[in-house]
């Protein structure tokens, strides 16, 4: 995954959707961090999960206040 991932092109395409101006001087650091994140994501992705594996944070509609 990471070998095919063009981090700079991705950043340039994504930033406008977020209204995030990117200073070209910051691009090498952004690219390095996106590439690292892509390697981390590949590790995560390689573990098969079932539809029953819900995300860790669970919304709580209301809590009994502490006594």
């Amino acid at each position: 995954m990471s070998t095919e991932f063009d981090a700079e092109a991705y950043a340039k395409a994504t930033a406008p959707a977020l209204g995030l101006p990117l200073d070209p001087r910051h691009m090498p650091g952004i690219v390095a961090n996106l590439q690292l994140a892509a390697r981390m994501a590949a590790l995560v992705e390689a573990l098969p999960l079932s539809p029953a594996d819900e995300a860790a944070p669970v919304f709580v509609a209301g809590r009994e206040p502490p006594k």
Partner: protein
């Protein structure tokens, strides 16, 4: 610096006044803080007011609390009334002062503690070394050319250098345990949801924990007990009964089942990390090994969640003044802002599955031992380090053993090896070990840490500088 427990006992017994102890501590900070750069703010007036209140309570025959007159300080992401909460960032320094103390600070104040100030950290807690671009690097008192660890570097250094006996920090991916290890002190990252985080500047709500640092187990227990309590303002806190540990420290550890973490936790480090674990394992008679399944993937999940949640929190500033961030955090936040949602959601799903798998281990084991850091404190400014023949970036790699544990909120007590020279650490520098238990079993960790302390295996080595 005498311990928190002895200080409180002496003040309660009328042997010292809190005001005297406070003045001595303030003088020590004035004389020695410049050496390590641990404090970023000294709250002199507040400390004198709190000390006077303790002395007045004693004079009036009222109970001044279990931490009567004990000097302490907090990582500068905790709100202190009347002080601007910096969270290590230049961006925050012009914000209004906090209107109220953080919950844990209120708890310590109610217990008689005297707050002396705020402590250096990595910007927005996003780092493992406290080489802060805006406020300067925090120096390790065991070797001033080396890092303190982070992100709660000032919290660890203030205790290791003997400026105060007690501090508070935060731990999202290892930020209590890493500096504890590198500075040779005790640090507690409680179970996720145990202590309220309200009134502290968040980094990653999904993973943030707060906890204490101290030079011995009794002081750590004293602080932990004082800080427990339900707080409706922390949405992640579990409202459990207060579960004090200070009275358990004399209990023996017979019958507890110990195991050393294998796999991921038995590689990726230097020999001193494993020697430290072997020393503790030998003292506890731990011969068994357990494998935390998919620990490396859990670390990757924590990494992605941290990037994305951390960036989300700072989006307005990333859009309008990215230049004002510490260069070390800025590019990580900018990249984190752009992570595909799928990566982050998948990481949160993996996290839940990994938790379920790891919790099964505690049916057969009470305490798991793992290295706290892969090596002793690196040099300030050092970028790379060789591990297993590969050159790796030294800073992110410091969290390799802590991230897979905080990822699922398990309680950890980081214990320092009493005699690092004897286990052959480079330069005799300190190193620690993680004692890991099932959720809500901090009581077991305190008993084991106290037993290791009694056996002379774990203690805070005295800094030479």
């Amino acid at each position: 610096m005498i311990s928190a427990a002895k200080t409180a006992a002496a003040i309660r017994a009328g042997k010292f006044r809190a005001a005297e102890v406070t003045e001595r501590a303030l003088a020590g900070i004035a004389a020695r803080n410049a050496t390590t750069n641990a404090f970023t703010e000294v709250t002199t007036a507040r400390a004198r007011t709190e000390a006077a209140a303790v002395d007045a309570a004693i004079a009036a025959g009222r109970d001044p609390g279990p931490l009567a007159g004990v000097p302490y300080a907090v990582k500068n992401l905790f709100d202190l009334e009347g002080v601007t909460t910096l969270a290590g960032a230049a961006i925050e320094k012009d914000r209004p002062a906090a209107a109220r103390d953080a919950f844990l600070v209120r708890q310590l104040r109610a217990a008689g503690g005297v707050c002396l100030g705020a402590l250096n950290m990595d910007e927005y807690a996003y780092g493992f070394t406290t080489e802060n671009h805006h406020y300067g690097p925090c120096r390790n008192p065991h070797d001033l050319t080396r890092v303190a660890g982070g992100s709660s570097g000032g919290s660890a250094v203030a205790v290791a250098a003997g400026l105060v006996p007690l501090t508070l920090g935060s731990d999202t991916n290892g930020s209590i345990r890493v500096p504890s290890s590198l500075c040779g002190i005790f640090g507690l990252k409680p179970t996720y949801g145990r202590l309220s985080r309200a009134g502290s500047y968040p980094f990653v709500g999904s993973l943030d924990h707060l906890g204490p640092f101290a030079r011995d187990v009794a002081d750590l227990a004293l602080a932990y007990d004082a800080m427990q309590g339900a707080d409706p303002e922390d949405p992640a806190q579990q409202w459990r009964p207060v579960d004090p540990v200070a009275s358990l420290l004399d209990q023996d550890v017979q019958g507890l089942r110990f195991a050393v973490a294998g796999g991921h936790f038995a590689r990726n480090g230097h020999p001193e990390a494993f020697a430290a674990v072997a020393t503790v394992a030998r003292a506890l008679g731990a011969t068994r090994r357990v494998e935390l399944p998919e620990a490396a993937r859990a670390r990757a999940a924590a990494f992605l969640i941290s990037m994305a949640e951390g960036a989300n929190l700072h989006m307005p500033d990333l859009r309008s003044r990215a230049e004002s961030f510490d260069p070390a955090t800025r590019d990580r936040f900018l990249a984190g802002a752009m992570l595909p949602a799928h990566w982050v959601i998948q990481a949160q799903r993996l996290r839940a599955a990994y938790r379920d798998a790891v919790l099964k281990l505690f049916a057969e084991v009470d305490v798991i031992l793992a290295p706290a850091t892969p090596y002793v404190a690196p040099h300030i400014g050092q970028d790379m380090i060789e591990v297993d023949g590969a050159m790796l970036p030294v800073r992110p790699n410091l969290g390799i053993y802590t991230q897979p544990i905080s990822c699922i909120g398990l309680p950890v007590l980081a214990v320092p090896i009493a005699d690092p020279v004897a286990i052959g650490t480079p330069g005799g520098l300190p190193i620690g070990v993680q004692l890991i238990a099932a959720p809500w079993r901090e009581d077991i960790l305190f008993r084991v840490a106290a037993a290791l302390e009694r056996a002379g295996v774990c203690a805070s080595p005295q800094p030479r500088s």
